[in-house]
Amino acid sequence: MAGSHNINRRDFVKLTTVAVGTVIGAAIGLPAIGYLISPALRAGGKDAWVSIGTLDKIPIGEPYAFSFTRTQVNGWERTATSYGGFVLRKSEAPEDMVILSSRCTHLGCQINWHADTQAYVCPCHDASFDINGAVIDGPPPRPLDVYTEFKVDDAGNLQIHVKEG
């Protein structure tokens, strides 16, 4: 039976060492990877209706800045994150308005309204957007994000629908 199935002692030990090592490596390595990426796999995406102001205090024809804070549990701590945006009422009709997020679509800095140039300007990389959020100049790949879902409740408060990423 001295055929091709023979394996010498040294090779057997080597093979066994490699095999056992691989199993142990996987048994420890995979949980280790899971441990590191665990927070990235959390389900997020809570949504809520947030009140951003009373309708009759919002002027017509010029952007009205608003901001709100949302808290979230991250690990062992509650983190408060601020969000902001601008409401532009185009006429008396409560539904005739554009609500823009103030988060620049380039790399996430906060834009500001410059009344003299009639543009939203991002301080980080000199991006500018027009009053409706379209890109005028600079690096942003797309117009400002718009809060499309909004409503005015019975007390006259303007509410927007916020989805957390």
């Binding site: 949980p31 280790a32 899971g34 441990y35 590191l36 665990s38 796999l41 690990g75 062992w76």
Partner: protein, 219 residues
């Protein structure tokens, strides 16, 4: 192809020499008691790796230390496993290093020309114990807090300079955020760096002198 690459690397790095010096050393006699040094080294590496992983989530602040460990235990995938290995590995390391020292003592392996290997080994045992002492505070629970209160108080009972030692260890007269922070720094930077350096010299000396012969009846 692979042989060529290996030959190229070997010519420049001396891989074969390293292999011969570290893994192909002659052993005087097969004996399991001679493996305790390797076991200590393995545990040191294991504690290092699991410790680095724990530092991804652990926060050394009185406000967050306890909560961050609760989060590791219940909120992070396999966090219980990583911390469990670090926790039990710590006790095991102190035990194995101590038995290693007993073995060297019983077989008289500390004699010429290995006196310095022995002295460095004693240093390694002490640093290992300090690793245990500083790591014990980090969970910042009742047991950790009072164990460190008592431990630093004992260190403070040294005549004349006791009060100075106590304040140096605690970073002030009382256990505080400063205590936790300096124990953390000692636990993850100062003591591991000392361990790594001493282990390097220890291993060099072992490779240089080889394993000692066990004494026999004639000795």
């Amino acid at each position: 192809m692979w042989k060529k690459i290996y030959a190229w690397l070997d010519e420049r790095l001396g891989l074969n020499d390293i292999y011969k010096a570290t893994l192909d050393r002659p052993e005087p006699r097969g004996n399991w008691w001679n493996t305790l040094g390797s076991a200590s080294l393995f545990l040191f590496v294991l504690q290092g790796i699991t410790g680095i992983f724990l530092s991804v989530y652990y926060t050394p602040s009185p406000d967050h230390a306890y909560d961050s460990i609760q989060y590791i235990m219940t909120g992070v995938s396999f966090g219980w496993l990583i911390r469990g290995i670090h926790h039990w590995g710590a006790s095991l390391m102190v035990l194995v290093v101590f038995i290693h020292m007993l073995r060297v003592f019983v077989t008289a392996s500390y004699k010429y020309p290995r006196e310095l290997t022995w002295l460095i080994g004693v240093g390694l045992l002490l640093v290992t114990v300090f690793m245990g002492f500083t790591g014990y505070l980090l969970p910042w629970n009742q047991k950790a807090y009072w164990a460190t209160t008592v431990g630093t108080q004992i260190a403070g009972s040294v005549p004349f300079i006791g009060d100075f030692i106590l304040k140096t260890l605690r970073g002030g007269p009382a256990l505080s955020a400063l205590t936790l922070q300096r124990f953390f720094a000692a636990h993850i930077w100062i003591l591991p760096a000392m361990l790594a350096g001493l282990i390097g010299v220890h291993l060099f000396l072992i490779i240089k002198h080889g394993e000692s012969q066990f004494p026999n009846k004639e000795d």
